[in-house]
């Protein structure tokens, strides 16, 4: 009848990818929590959905859309800005995502990003795994088990959706919220861990110093005189009364070089140095005051929900 056949390897690959989307789509929802921004979410269990934290605006009256016309209300259980994840509960019955074996991942594997749009239609984007690395800490101080960067177009509304392998098993949750330059994927192992913590306490602890600061360049002469390797540090511009830093003796104008042995070159480094494990622990604070190095000991506090 025609010269066209469906028996090619290319057609087989295409069919497998479409099958993967079809298999996973029932576990992908549209999350309506922000009138300015579309987002997706993945079903972690029958009544639990994980989405991205930065796409949560309204904490009440969150609506999720399943396939087609079906919608359901969802309540926010907790949110963790440090890993950009939020946990929702719904009465609707969802199909939990099939989970991929993260150990088998290799750079070059074909991957799919899945989302659901506001009309309830599943949407997909294809690419390859571009880089994989070990554990890392986000710019907001969150611990992520593995660094996963897919090379694909993560369109508007795809944040909070799934990154899946070519069989439709989920590798993690995609987000634009952890890097300004590139979409990244929070691995499913981290998603599960954070969801459990949010389920238990509603939030992830973060360390608190009680200072306002800004980055400063360290003059070359001072660096060579005092044997400092880093080129910049952060200067304290405000100290919260009775906060951990004030109790430790920190003053406005102090230049903070390191916390707990981690160099502080900008304020992101400070957030990274204040992971949940530091809350309630004593940490060494290396300070530059009046041209001299000093050491303070600070009892790290816990940052409250509204960031104070």
């Amino acid at each position: 009848m025609s010269m066209f056949t469906d028996s090619s390897a290319l057609a087989a690959l295409s069919s497998e990818l479409a099958n993967a989307v079809e298999r996973l789509a029932p576990s992908i929802v549209y999350v309506d929590s922000d009138p300015r921004r579309d987002a997706s979410g993945i079903a972690l269990s029958e009544h639990a959905v994980v989405t991205t934290e930065h796409t949560i605006d309204r904490e009440d009256e969150i609506v999720i859309r399943l396939g087609g016309e079906a919608t359901a209300r969802a309540t926010l259980v907790g949110r963790d800005p440090t890993t950009d994840l939020a946990l929702l509960h719904t009465d609707a019955s969802l199909v939990p995502v099939p989970r991929a074996a993260l150990d088998a991942l290799k750079v070059g594997h074909i991957v799919l990003a899945l989302a659901r749009d506001e009309d309830g239609e599943a949407a997909a984007s294809m690419g390859v795994l571009s880089s994989l690395d070990g554990p890392w800490r986000t710019w907001r101080g969150g611990d992520v088990d593995r660094f996963i960067r897919p090379d694909l177009n993560l369109y508007s509304g795809f944040s909070g959706g799934a990154l899946a392998d070519a069989h439709g098993a989920v590798i993690g949750v995609n987000t634009w919220g952890l890097s300004r330059r590139t979409p990244l994927t929070v691995p499913l192992s981290t998603v599960v861990r954070v969801a459990e913590q949010l389920e238990a306490g509603g939030r992830i602890k973060r360390g608190y110093l009680g200072v306002a600061m800004q980055a400063v360049r360290l003059p070359q002469r001072l660096r060579s005189e005092l044997g400092i390797e880093q080129e910049s540090a952060v200067i304290v511009v405000d100290v919260a009364p009775e906060g951990p830093a004030e109790r430790a003796g920190a003053l406005i104008g102090d230049v903070l070089l390191a916390l707990g042995g981690r160099a502080l070159e900008d304020s992101d480094d400070v957030a990274r140095a204040l992971g949940s494990e530091t809350v309630g622990t004593k940490q060494r604070l290396d300070v530059l005051r009046a041209g001299r190095r000093q050491t303070l000991e600070v009892l790290v506090g816990e940052r409250s929900r509204n960031g104070e």
């Binding site: 390897a9 749009d117 949407a123």
Partner: protein
Amino acid sequence: MASDVDADLAALAERMRAWTVRIHEARGRSMGSGVIWTDDGLVVTNAHVVRGARTTVEFPNGRFERAALIARDPDCDLALLRLASELEATPVVTRSAAQLRAGELVAAVGNPLGLSGALTLGTVQRVNAKWVIADVRLAPGNSGGPLVDTSGRIVGINSMIARGLALAVPADRVVAFLRAHAGEKRAQPAA
């Protein structure tokens, strides 16, 4: 498997290039791409590619031929040209947008950025009432060219780029457009 996929892609590109022409306006500027639809000389392109009545079609082998505009519909962004001579072309095969699945592989061929017969590969993102929306890289010059599935069936005519996505007029719509206008000798003057 990977080498089989490579070979299939190369064969697909070759087949698509045989159908894909470059469309020039009267003054010789290249405006976009077109698809040789039938062996009796009908060429489909976008309405926004052909604005004047005089058009020249450039074949993949470098030959030029005049074409008459016989229908143009800006609403669905389609235009139909008729070449003076018949061709030894294999008629295209189309596939309905309703059969497309998200995640399926699709390829676009066209003449973007001054290139000839450039191939880009991606996936169907979704299909709505008006468009086949694909995660395929297009550039100006792809307009009017084909979007095909892995078997070389035309699923749409590439028409627009929106937020990095390819928007193609569904093949069903093209078929309906041809059915309505293929018998016409030349375009009616615009009202």
